[in-house]
Symmetry: C2
Subunit: 254 residues, 2 copies
DNA sequence: GTCTATAAACCGATAGAC
DNA sequence: GTCTATCGGTTTATAGAC
């Protein structure tokens, strides 16, 4: 790639980034379903048709935003995974969960784009599935490392029903052949449950119910760690009263 | 109310119901954010301005749909609660959770309306908060009945951090003064976690991951029952053959 | 790759006759 | 309480000049 082409490419990359950035702003004010190419162009001082040189259709812009969101929350989780290397498995689990939750709280509209209601008429293309799996794989990695270190206990819960076991066995063969099948089943459930807490917080279901949301989340994440077989590391957090900096404020910021 | 007024009222009720019914159809095809009064009117053979006699604004139609959805899923949960009276607490818990999940799977768009991404620009009025609490209260009732029967154990998990305890204590005083505070905290977490599994199923996150979704849900609900202190009733569902699934590991008192 | 112009729709909400 | 008509916007997407 020549220098001139490099410059051209760079300009294109910058415009593409600006479009996505403005689109994310509109995600906040209008929601995914009403994201409008024209409005994005207007705000950027462009004309609507110019956008089509960057994104052939509204759905393509959409897909780019979705992939970016999955990658961002996945990167946050992976960063916590790496930063916690060597720590007690239950603490690593909590750290990874917490990283995903913190990203979601900081980016509620992008979170809604990927973990909220599907947008009718939009079918996620195949390109989204790998980014979509990153948080889950970070959780698998925590458990896999614990297993490797010989400190993984059995998951809590009753024996698996046949069809559940079959699903889990298939998953295990694909992404973590060394983990016991019941552990995989517990992991999948815990994965969904973590996002249940995050969604309740981000989508406002905890309004007037849970105020200390950070500590509450950590408490629930710790219980989920135990559920998948990660032994608690010892004492509770710092139990103190001092807030962890969480406000209880409204769920929508712009 | 006279007979004539009764007839007039009835007609009004029927039109109102027809509007909501058509609006629910559009919820499915367009999503909440794009629900359009004009389109509803068009489909009903009315003129758009006529709708304003029934719903003063789009947001009011919205609110009605939301309340209906909360009431429907709440009624499903309450019906399972009543139908399971006398059964083992863990089984009642699973039945109530399963009723909510089944309703959600049968009504994905209404479910998305209330448990999915908030619609930007719409602020839920106070009228929605009582209906919104019905499923949660059904779960509280299961645990409260178990406590009343003396078969409620301690919740799993570590001791509560101070702020979490404070929130839970306030909630307990409002809706279940007889339940231990840690139980309330575990209940709130379990409540959110149940909906996490439901949302992952309804919103497509389980595609190509979990296929046996009913049994998987029951498995997870059973684990959550144990988490809030409801002892398992005995054997696994029916289906399970030889499990290497291991039972409860170390119990951590709270 | 940005522009103008255009097609062919759509929207919420209101005024005022009947 | 339904109608017509209207205000003042909005949208996706394309054609074709530059």
């Amino acid at each position: 790639m020549s220098v001139i082409q490099g410059a051209r490419e760079r300009a294109r990359t910058e415009v593409t980034a600006a479009i996505k950035e403005e689109a994310r702003r509109q995600l906040a004010s209008e929601g995914a379903a009403r994201l409008s190419l024209r409005a994005v162009a207007r705000e950027l001082g462009m004309v609507s048709s110019a956008l089509y040189r960057y994104f052939p259709s509204r759905d393509d812009l959409f897909t780019a935003l979705i992939i970016d969101a999955y990658d961002a929350i996945g990167a946050a989780a992976e960063q916590a995974l790496a930063a916690s290397a060597g720590a007690a498995p239950a603490d690593r689990w909590i750290a990874v969960c917490r990283a995903a939750r913190d990203w979601a709280v900081d980016h509620p509209h992008e979170y809604a784009l990927v973990y909220g209601s599907p947008v009718p008429g939009y079918g996620a293309p195949q390109d989204t599935v790998v980014p979509a799996s990153r948080v889950g794989l970070a959780l698998v990695a925590v458990v896999g490392d614990a297993q490797h270190d010989g400190v993984l206990g059995p998951p809590l819960g009753r024996p698996l029903a046949g069809p559940v076991r079959a699903d889990a066995a298939l998953l295990a063969s694909e992404l973590a052949p060394d983990l016991p099948v019941p552990t995989i089943a517990a992991l999948v459930a815990a994965w969904a449950q973590v996002f249940g807490i995050v969604s309740f917080e981000v989508f406002g279901q905890f309004n007037r119910v849970v105020e200390a949301r950070g500590p509450f989340f950590d408490q629930a994440a710790a219980a989920l760690a135990a559920q998948v077989g990660l032994a608690p590391s010892g004492g509770p957090p710092a139990d103190g009263q001092a807030g962890d900096g969480d406000r209880a404020g409204g769920e929508q910021r712009s």
